[in-house]
């Protein structure tokens, strides 16, 4: 832990300032330390705060332990094929910060960042900083995305997001509508259903994946075949690649596959996307069959690609299959449900977006409020980390930080060298 403190009167100076002490911020701090670049990491809580306070109780990583690694830090427990709980991730990150004495300023919130001569002026609730290089490492999962239709729900319906959900006991009795069919939506639907509350799951476009394929974790295949290392510039439609929802996976000791068929068998009602509210009733899209067909076709193409790769690389084929049965939906699927009688609670598992609202630089955002960047470079001397497919498919994974940080620290070091040499910082105000 650092002993440095910003003063209330004048801004403390530092070469690089990292906002966020999660895996991305720490990996960057490690890289900056190795280059002896003077820096601080500003963390609103304790290291890995989101893992301590913004995840539901039963949550586990979607990647196996052997994959949890950061530069010079890796899982060293006795269950490499297991999946870390949120608390274990927080512990893993704390151990990392301690290991290389990361200069983390805990319990400090960034309130505003504005351009300043030669860099950026960073206002926190514990003093101001001036930095020449800035790293946005708050991650991609800060603010729950809730669709506009939420505003049309009757006031009698309790709404909460996946960030605020902890366990089913939080919810009132009666039916629950879980909106969203990514990993989060499926896991919450299963857990809430098991608590005795009838669950309806609204399903839009989604990504299917078996937990294991031919005896190995699907993430092993994703990595071995090079898919996780695919770069954003190789993608036909980078925007779409970045918007893809998280695959339907769950981390359990039994390595079970959690999919829509499993939920349907348990008694969860599958419906189409929640598209409207009328006369106190939820309206679901009639496109359920097609979004399921799209996901079925896509997962089969993925598994075909794994098999092709195994054949061409002489990887012994394990006889065990990992093929998924076609998704079954009720004939016909329900198109509506009554709020009150059928549904008392709505849980939004509709994704997250990063929070950069404190970045007082409107030119850096597109008209939808998304941060503009070129593979992580936001502006000269400013980089962002951890966004989905930032540079590579694995960019938002814990193990994805290493390669991105290596690339982006080079940008920062180069910027710091140049601005130090000329003595004139490139500020956005001047650019």
């Amino acid at each position: 832990m650092t002993t440095r403190r910003a003063s209330w009167r004048t801004a403390a100076c530092v070469d690089a300032l990292v906002v966020g002490g999660g895996h991305n911020g720490l990996a960057m701090s490690h890289a900056l330390s190795q280059r002896s670049i003077d820096h601080v990491v500003i963390e609103r809580g304790d290291v890995g705060q989101a893992w301590r306070s913004e995840r539901w109780d039963s949550m586990r990583l979607l990647t196996p332990n052997w994959m949890s690694r950061l530069p010079e830090h890796a899982y060293d427990g006795d269950d490499p094929d297991g999946y870390m709980s949120a608390a274990e991730v927080a512990g893993f990150l704390s151990a990392y910060a301690t290991k290389f004495a990361a200069p983390v300023l805990n319990h400090t919130s960034v309130l505003r960042v504005e351009p300043a001569r030669g860099g950026y002026h960073v206002v926190t609730d514990r003093g101001d900083w001036h930095c020449r290089a800035l790293v946005l490492a708050g991650g991609a999962f800060n603010t729950p995305v809730v669709p506009r239709v939420a505003a049309a729900l009757p006031a009698t319906v309790t709404q909460l997001t996946a960030r605020d959900y902890r366990h089913p006991g939080q919810l009132g009795n009666g039916g629950v509508l879980v909106v969203g069919a990514s990993a989060t939506g499926l896991q919450l639907a299963q857990e809430i259903h098991a608590s005795g509350r009838p669950v309806t799951l609204a399903v839009g476009e989604h990504v299917r994946m078996p937990r294991t394929f031919r005896g190995r974790d699907v993430q092993w295949w994703m990595q071995a075949t090079g898919l996780l290392d695919q770069r954003i510039e190789e993608m036909d439609d980078p925007g779409r690649a970045r918007r893809l929802p998280s695959p339907q996976l769950v981390g359990t000791p039994e390595r079970v596959t959690l999919d829509l068929n499993a939920l349907r068998q348990l008694g969860v009602t599958l419906v189409g996307r929640l598209v409207g509210v009328r006369d106190g009733k939820a309206q679901f899209s009639g496109s359920l069959r097609n979004v399921c067909a799209l996901a079925d076709l896509k997962v089969n193409r993925l598994l075909d690609a794994f098999d092709d790769w195994a054949r061409s690389h002489g990887v012994a084929a394990d006889g065990r299959d990992g093929r998924l049965a076609a998704t079954l939906v009720d004939q016909p699927p329900r198109l509506g449900a009554a709020f009150g009688s059928d549904i008392r609670t709505v849980v939004w598992a509709t994704g997250f977006r990063p929070d950069h609202s404190w970045l007082d630089l409107p030119a850096l955002f597109d008209r939808h409020g998304n941060l503009l960047h070129d593979r992580g470079v936001v502006a000269p001397g400013m980089v962002v980390l951890g966004l989905p497919f930032l540079r590579r498919r694995k960019s938002s994974f814990i193990h994805g930080a290493e390669d991105d940080v290596r690339d982006l620290v080079a940008h920062l070091a180069d910027h710091l060298d140049r601005t130090a040499r000329t003595g004139v910082g490139l500020s956005l105000a001047a650019a």
Binding site: E205, G272, R273, V275, G276, R278, Q283, S285, G286, S287, N290, V291, A293, L294, L297, N300, R301, P332, R367
Partner: protein, 188 residues
């Protein structure tokens, strides 16, 4: 991935579509279209609709000609059957939209189509429109669409064409999702 020579020709100018996509991403206002139809009652259940102009790419646009559509009801409804029923026109719109999408997606994926045939059927309990049973809706209780496609592709690739076409179809969206409809009236 190996680069494949673009050899399929389904008569869809995909380069123009992709160019429009790129251009309209930069100019979202030009992407706002207005589609129009007019209609005049001719007597009985028979009316004639016309489609001539629309708005898009920032200005008024015209079809090459005015297209007319006679809409009526069959004789078993004690009508003169001067045209398709309005609900059949909905099926016509769905088929036209999905088939156009299939051709465009196939072109983009370099898949040569030889024939694309669609059969559509919408189920309806007319107790709804006749006001016999309040619990029966007026509209279709479901629509079945079947495609028979001959193309240089595997069955999975053909299934993917049809799935992708539904995903990007305007009429599929109009039918499967609610749309606000605002009807006003004035005395002539």
């Amino acid at each position: 991935m190996t680069q494949v020579q673009k050899s399929a020709d389904n008569g869809v100018n995909v380069d123009a579509l992709l160019g429009a996509r790129a251009a309209l991403t930069q100019a979202p206002e030009a992407a706002r279209f207005k589609w129009r139809a007019t209609s005049e009652w001719l007597g009985g259940t028979h009316s004639r609709a016309a489609v001539a102009s629309f708005h898009g790419l920032g200005s008024e646009q015209k079809h090459r000609q005015t297209f007319q559509f006679d809409v009526d009801h069959p004789e078993i409804f004690a009508s003169e059957d001067n045209g398709a029923t309005p609900v059949e026109v909905i099926l016509v719109g769905l088929a036209g939209c999905l088939s156009a999408g299939i051709a465009a997606v196939a072109q983009n994926r370099n898949i040569q189509l030889r024939s694309v045939k669609a059969t559509l059927e919408g189920g309806m309990d007319i107790q709804g429109i006749l006001g016999i049973d309040e619990n029966v809706r007026n509209g279709f209780d479901g629509i079945q669409v079947h495609y028979e496609i001959d193309a240089d592709a595997t069955a999975e690739q053909i299934a993917a064409l049809v799935a992708q076409s539904q995903k990007r179809s305007a009429v599929f969206d109009i039918i499967t999702n609610p749309t606000d409809v605002h009807v006003t009236v004035s005395k002539a």
